[in-house]
């Protein structure tokens, strides 16, 4: 799974900490998601979708090995 959370976050001019607070997780969790070390739950993905005002598919993409 690949994602463009970092880009979306930059568009909204948010730090990892800001984004973490907005969706109720720790900064390290955002860091892990951005680094593709952790695939978030559907609930978290939908929270990000609401925040970015975009469908989940726009910032989460399946990679070849998925």
């Amino acid at each position: 799974m690949q994602n463009t959370i970092k880009v979306e976050r930059a568009i909204l001019n948010l730090t990892q900490d800001d984004l973490a607070k907005k969706i109720g997780v720790s900064r390290q969790t955002i860091n892990s998601i951005e680094a593709n070390r952790y695939v978030p739950s559907t609930v978290l993905a939908l929270k990000l979708s609401v925040l970015f005002n975009k469908p989940v598919n726009d910032f989460f993409k399946l990679s070849d090995d998925d």
Binding site: V25, S26, Q28, T29, N31, S32, R37, Y38, P40, L44
Partner: protein, 149 residues
């Protein structure tokens, strides 16, 4: 209550038990209990005389309680990633605990007989030794996984 409701009720109860955590300050309470118990263990071993076997067993139980509190206390920033890491650490603790229980008696027996011929006879591990090992592995693996998240 129909069958589906009973199943839902059971599932909800199981989920509540699975997600049960003590408040965060219990982690510090657990550390304090553990530290005091370890100090008391040294005092019992080196400064007390007479039959203190009952105290040894009491201190072992207290140490286990302290570490259990540390294990099930809520994290400062508990979210879905820390819950996943916690579950992974329990899996690690369980698997290594079983392997340790199976292998360690033979290691102790072998080492004892190599060091001095006709050493200890084979004996299984005690409950304290297994439980303390599992709790140690759980706590260490959880904090290691958290550090590398």
């Amino acid at each position: 209550m129909n069958k589906q409701n009973i199943v839902d009720c059971e599932r909800n109860r199981l989920e509540k038990i699975t997600s049960f955590r003590l408040p965060q300050y219990f982690y510090k309470v657990g550390i304090a209990i553990g530290a005091i118990t370890i100090i008391m263990m040294f005092v019992r071993a080196f400064a007390m005389e007479g039959d203190t076997e009952w105290l040894k067993h009491l201190l072992q139980k207290t140490l286990l309680i302290g570490m259990l509190l540390m294990s099930i206390a809520r994290d400062k920033e508990e979210d879905e990633l820390t819950i996943k890491l916690r579950m992974q650490s329990y899996a690690w603790a369980f698997i290594t605990g079983v392997v340790y229980t199976l292998v360690m008696p033979y290691v102790e027996f072998g080492v004892s007989n190599v060091v001095h011929s006709g050493g200890e006879v084979y004996q299984d591990l005690g409950d304290f030794q297994i439980l303390i090992f599992m709790l140690l592995v759980q706590l260490m693996s959880y904090h290691t996984l958290k550090r590398y998240r």
